[in-house]
């Protein structure tokens, strides 16, 4: 893709195919001989991990759909049946339910990696935006999927989220009734949520294709943020990164398996094992952990419409990030101030997640002594979240003096003077 293709069909069959559908060539140029910066660390393995996560969700989802019944009278019982009676149903459901959490864990690390190393900056703006689109679709898929087991959290989560659209002036009620297909969350809602839950992962797969395409035009960014200058800055993707990604995937799968086999309900909520009941709201509704920060932002504003706008704005701001960051330097490695603001940003996101899990009026441990409750902590952290993108990154580019950067990727790995070492003699790290 970048540079001329090095694929040489060896057999007659390969030549025949290559002249008609050069698919092997595409694979070869993208994943075998693709020139990759030689200094990629383990934060760069999450792309491969995410691809595996998506495949796992699709495969387990398709088989779950063979047993699941999208009807309010049967959905809950059919999921219980999957857990108890269907052969290996417990395993498939545990993989799918925990797989969603693992998927989000990986995507958050993948995104923070991009934020730290400046991977959203030119020439990778579209690559970043496609990533944000994937993230939005993932949130939609996970929300819709969580409704399917038709437990109390499913039902009331669906109620609260669909009612968010009711905040829109004038069109609020028509839109919510259109989403529900009725006067409230009901059978029509569950049925269409199942249809859309089945669809979205395939949309994601399509956009992942565009995402990888957009990646392979400029090539990978890397921890130094420097652009590739010579061939000595790169290694062929295979075997260096196929092996590195493979190793990371195995480690990730071990963590995944730990949850699936030993702690399958740790990340879920006990109330979802109570069947949906339109007459009783659970005392404490919380979304899945990966959506908690947005829930905290929603609650930070006393006004219904304002909360909704802010919550969507928190994702919207990611779309324009490439044009908000004014720094000439990509990687935070060489940004002495930016690095600290980034660290606080990560803390703010974790803190928002904590606020989303607690009742707003509860006092924050320790800081509660000065009267700080989770509502106000959430407000402060929300302010920082937006300030990071809208004030700090735009201004920092003018104020900050970046530190000395190495002359090239090669120098950053091998040190000065050794830069004549040939690519093949150096291992991947």
């Amino acid at each position: 893709m970048s540079g001329p293709s090095t694929y040489e069909p060896k057999t007659g069959v390969e030549r025949w195919l290559d002249q008609r559908l050069p698919i092997v060539r595409l694979g070869w140029d993208s994943f075998v001989d693709f020139p990759t910066p030689r200094n990629l660390n383990y934060w760069y393995t999450f792309g491969g991990i995410l691809t595996v996560c998506l495949m796992i969700q699709i495969v387990t989802g398709i088989v779950l759909a063979m047993h699941y019944v999208p009807h309010i009278d049967y959905a809950f019982a059919s999921v219980e049946r999957i857990d108890r009676d269907v052969n290996f149903g417990w395993l498939l459901r545990n993989i799918h339910a925990n797989g969603a959490s693992m998927f989000f864990l990986a995507v958050y690390l993948h995104m923070l990696r991009g934020l730290y190393y400046g991977s959203y900056k030119a020439p990778r703006e579209l690559l970043w935006i496609l990533g944000v689109v994937i993230y939005l679709l993932m949130m939609a898929a996970a929300f819709l999927g969580y409704v399917l087991p038709w437990g109390q959290m499913s039902y009331w989560g669906a109620m609260v989220i669909t009612n968010l659209f009711g905040a829109l002036p004038l069109i609020g009620t028509p839109i919510t009734e259109w989403l529900w297909g009725g006067f409230s969350v009901g059978n029509a809602t569950l049925n269409r949520f199942f249809s859309l839950h089945y669809l979205i992962p395939f949309l994601i797969a399509g956009i992942v294709g565009l995402h990888v395409w957009a990646l392979h035009v400029p090539g990978n960014n890397n921890p130094t943020g420097l652009s590739i200058k010579t061939k000595a800055d790169t290694l062929p993707f295979h075997p260096y990164y196929t092996v590195k990604d493979g190793f990371a995937i195995i480690v990730f799968m071990i963590i995944f398996a730990f949850f699936v086999f030993y702690w399958p309900d740790a990340l879920g909520h006990a109330d979802n094992y109570i069947e949906a009941n339109a007459l009783v709201t659970p005392a404490h509704i919380v979304p899945e952990w990966y959506l908690l920060p947005f829930y905290a932002i929603l609650r930070a504003v006393p006004d219904k419409l304002g909360g909704v706008i802010l919550m969507f704005g928190a994702i919207g701001v990611l779309f324009i990030l490439p044009w908000l960051d004014t720094s000439k330097v990509r990687s935070m490695r060489y940004r002495p101030l930016g690095r600290w603001f980034f660290v606080f940003f990560v803390i703010a996101c974790l803190g928002l997640g904590w606020c989303g899990a607690e009742l707003p009026d509860n006092k924050v441990p320790v800081l509660g002594a000065i009267g700080l409750n989770f509502l106000w902590l959430g407000r402060i952290l929300t302010l920082y979240y937006f300030a990071y993108f809208l004030v700090i990154l735009p201004l920092l580019g003018f104020i900050e003096k970046p530190t000395q950067r190495p002359a090239s990727i090669e120098e950053s790995v091998l040190g000065k003077g050794k830069s004549d070492a040939s690519a093949s003699a150096a291992p991947a790290e």
């Binding site: 609260v160 009612n163 009734e177 297909g181 006067f183 409230s184 029509a188 709201t281 005392a283 404490h284």
Partner: protein, 205 residues
């Protein structure tokens, strides 16, 4: 792209017949496309059978003072409460101008009706011809949607600042007339269309 304007006939100045054909066909495709899209959007709206399920009858004779039941009407839970004399007077004493939402939100009244206690109780309900309903019963009965006007949770009975309804989800306090008094909910609990079809039977819808 060929510049359709630069043909010898018009010299690139006047729009040609070809321009007209282009614009007309693109327009037709656009309108046709939008028309085709509509069935795919509208199918998601409530279906005819859903719209047809729209009345519920409530028997009030079994309700004692201070008792409350929850009934389903148009797929939504509704509170049906026979209020005590104290609850009624507490709600009636409040000046409408002090309420966060000053509109009755009552389907039986005009949109601009103020949120007085009388406009919230079943005094506002229709009465079928020939039916006599006890005045005290009508002012004691309160029927409202049981979905919080914030994000739809079902508030808890007998809780909150007004010992009436308190929504645990994000902390909205409603008074004994189902009016929002404190918290993020923007509106009073809405009141469905209702008619007395006998002295003790109320039909919703």
């Amino acid at each position: 792209m060929t510049d359709v304007n630069s043909n010898p006939e018009t010299g690139g100045e006047e729009p040609s017949r070809r321009d007209f054909l282009y614009i007309a066909s693109v327009g037709a495709v656009g309108v046709g496309g939008a028309l085709t899209l509509w069935p795919f959007i509208d199918q998601m709206n409530p279906a005819a059978d859903t719209l047809a399920l729209s009345t519920t009858e409530v028997n009030l004779s079994a309700l004692e003072e201070g008792a409350e039941i929850t009934v389903m009407f148009r797929e939504r839970p509704h509170f049906v409460r026979r209020r005590t004399a104290q609850e009624i007077s507490e709600a009636a004493e409040v000046e409408v101008s002090r309420l966060p939402d000053q509109l009755a939100r009552n389907a039986n009244l005009e949109d601009s009706a103020p949120a007085t206690d009388a406009n919230r109780s079943t005094l506002s309900a229709g009465v079928d011809e020939g039916v006599e309903v006890d005045e005290a019963l009508r002012s004691a009965m309160l029927v409202t949607s049981a979905n919080c006007t914030h994000l739809g949770c079902v508030p808890t009975e007998g809780a909150g600042d007004y010992d009436a309804w308190f929504c645990p989800c994000h902390g909205s306090h409603y008074d004994t007339a189902g009016r929002i008094r404190r918290g993020p909910a923007p509106e009073n609990l809405p009141i469905p269309p209702m008619t007395f079809i006998s002295a003790t039977t109320l039909r919703l819808g």
